[in-house]
């Protein structure tokens, strides 16, 4: 991590330049694995043949296997893959909802990438979660407190980050609700009383409340009708354009990935089978599974 990129982090928001080439990544993950089960001598070999993601010898589930990725400032990284390919588990590991079995994550905005954030204390992980990361879950019930008002939901992250001024948080909440196009007269309503699309937008507002430099979006548009979907996608692109937020976007919908992502990785059975520029993957898929995926879109 160089000094120059540290300054870049400090001066967010800023206009996005599309020359990422030599920029230090805001997020760098190497060798991330998540196992459910003890593992055995057979499946501890990274080249071992598994039945999909299950070890044929000991039955351990390898949900995420040796995944590495980088996200650069202002970049949107797409992750595609079928159901059960480990996308959400990967995201939850990145957001500290689950402890990875092994792996290394460097977060530039935290300490310039000096330490493996999977090994820092729980308090420091909370700090990263509350101030540097934002997360939008596939299921709004995971990301929102359904019985608290929308304003409180948005304020939660700010309280966690140490804000103790009610007016400031209410102002910020109203600003964000306006941004995600939720009428302010519903600010006191709990998300329980909202439609799915509105819940998803409240989640986005919540994730944005501390202006995090990194945003994780897990299937944000899944289950939304097309017009709402378009509005949410628009919002995501405008966030990148206006605030320069870096994002990791998980989706099994290639259309969404094609629209949003600059680069894409393709996951299958917990492993990355292909990665590259989104256009490249869409037009010239190399792996058999990716080919199947891309052709099924057409």
């Amino acid at each position: 991590m160089t000094d120059a990129s540290a300054t870049v982090q400090a001066t967010l928001p800023r206009p996005v330049t599309h020359t990422y080439v030599d920029d230090a990544p805001v997020l760098k993950v190497t060798g991330l694995s998540k196992r459910f089960g003890a593992g055995c001598s057979y499946c501890s070999d990274p080249e071992a043949k598994l039945e999909r993601n299950i070890c044929p010898v000991c039955g351990t589930v390898h949900a995420v296997r040796n995944v590495s990725l980088e996200v650069h400032p202002g970049e949107i990284l797409g992750i595609v893959g079928e159901s059960g390919s480990g996308k959400s588990t990967l995201m939850q590991c990145l957001y500290f909802d689950q402890d990875p079995t092994e792996g290394d994550m460097r977060v530039a905005a935290f300490d310039g990438g000096a330490e493996n954030c999977f090994l820092v204390s729980r308090q420091q992980q909370r700090y990263i979660r509350d101030r540097i990361f934002g997360m939008v879950y596939q299921n709004p019930y995971l990301g929102l407190r359904m019985n608290f008002s929308s304003l409180s939901n948005i304020a939660e992250k700010q309280i966690a980050a140490g804000v103790r001024n009610v007016h400031q948080m209410v102002d910020r909440g109203e600003e964000l609700l306006e941004r995600v196009k939720i009428p302010l007269r519903r600010k006191q309503d709990p998300p329980r009383a909202f439609s799915g699309g509105m819940q998803q937008r409240v989640q986005i507002a919540k994730a944005l409340s501390n202006e995090p430099p990194v945003l994780f979006l897990d299937e944000v548009t899944t289950g939304l009708d097309l017009s709402v979907q378009a509005r949410v996608l628009d919002l995501i692109l405008s966030l990148r354009r206006d605030l320069g937020v870096s994002m990791v976007v998980v989706s099994h919908d290639l259309g969404v990935i094609r629209l949003l992502a600059d680069r894409t990785i393709v996951m299958l059975d917990g492993q990355v089978i292909e990665h590259g520029l989104t256009d490249q993957i869409m037009q010239d898929p190399q792996h058999a599974y990716t080919q199947e995926l891309v052709y099924s879109l057409l």
Binding site: Q123, R126, R145, A155, E156, I159, R164, V166, M169, V170
Partner: protein, 290 residues
């Protein structure tokens, strides 16, 4: 004292376990120590936590006072006082200054307690984060990490909805800058009495099986926001109908004779002592005039 019970009802092993939990609670102010709450001859939720603390701490030389919402005469107070007296033979009193051990439900006496007095509070819900997070495993972790977003979020939600915090009682407090604690449902007015108090306060939740403590001279700060400071109940212009006291916690009631709304001291012993002092003073004055 009835001889067919062990001194103070509980067996010595139980008392020892509860005392150990108390010691741990005193050593970590505000931390909820789990304990094996015993079956008591009163229902859970009726003060069994406080009762077990009282029975574990009481000795033959103690003088006991039991109050319920400030009153020595309410059913719960009378029953618990009777139970402890019959199983220990200790003296009981209603005068705050004479008691060495005070078990109370939802009030702290008006008269400041001294270092020789022990206050036991009955607690229905010891977990200040419970409405925010239902799982005990998670709240334990939140306490361990001093992650108190949830406690503030509750207050924020109240302000957003009603324009002010609406905790009538049990307003959460930060103990010695470390643990957020439910002070049992004492009115906000009483929160300040916990701060830097001379006495030891023990809190017991029998149904929830938790004991915690505020040792003497411990900082206890009510949670608040910068622009919404903590406020206590206001009794602007009100005074006790019976003893004339102001600056104490008052409860509203109706004068049965006139049907008017009046205020009375919530702490009945405090009120009685003031009435008594006033009448003996006027008697003395009358004597001088003669």
């Amino acid at each position: 004292m009835r001889k067919n019970y062990n001194f103070a009802f509980l067996d010595e092993g139980s008392k020892r376990e509860i005392r150990r939990a108390i010691l741990k609670g005193v050593a970590i102010p505000g931390y909820q120590v789990p304990f094996a709450s015993r079956e008591m001859p009163i229902g859970r939720g009726w003060g069994t936590g406080g009762l077990q603390l009282t029975l574990s701490c009481i000795g033959p030389d103690d003088t006991l006072k039991v109050i319920d919402q400030g009153s020595d005469a309410s059913v719960n107070a009378v029953s618990i006082r009777g139970l402890v007296r019959e199983t220990t033979g200790v003296e009981t009193t209603t005068a705050t200054q004479e008691a060495t051990l005070i078990q109370s439900r939802h009030r702290i006496p008006e008269r400041p307690l001294t270092r020789d007095q022990l206050l036991v509070l009955q607690v229905p819900t010891p977990e200040p984060l419970r409405t925010y997070e239902a799982r005990e495993t998670v709240t334990k972790r939140l306490h361990a990490e001093a992650e108190y977003t949830g406690a503030y979020l509750e207050l924020f939600e109240q302000i957003v909805r009603y324009g002010t915090t609406t905790t009538g009682a049990d307003h959460p407090v930060m103990v010695e800058g470390r643990y957020v604690m439910a002070p049992s449902p004492i009115p906000r007015y009483d929160n300040a009495k916990l701060d830097m108090a001379e006495n030891l306060t023990l809190l017991g939740a029998g149904r929830e099986k938790k004991i915690y403590a505020v040792p003497p001279y411990t900082h206890v700060e009510s949670l608040a926001f910068d622009d919404y400071p903590f406020v206590t109940e206001e009794f602007e212009g009100a005074h006790c109908h019976r003893c004339g006291a102001t600056g104490v916690y008052l409860t509203q009631t109706v004068d049965p004779a006139t049907g008017e709304q009046i205020w009375m001291c919530s702490d009945t012993d405090y009120c009685d002592q003031r009435v008594e002092a006033a009448s003996s003073a006027s008697a003395a004055k009358g004597g001088d005039a003669r």
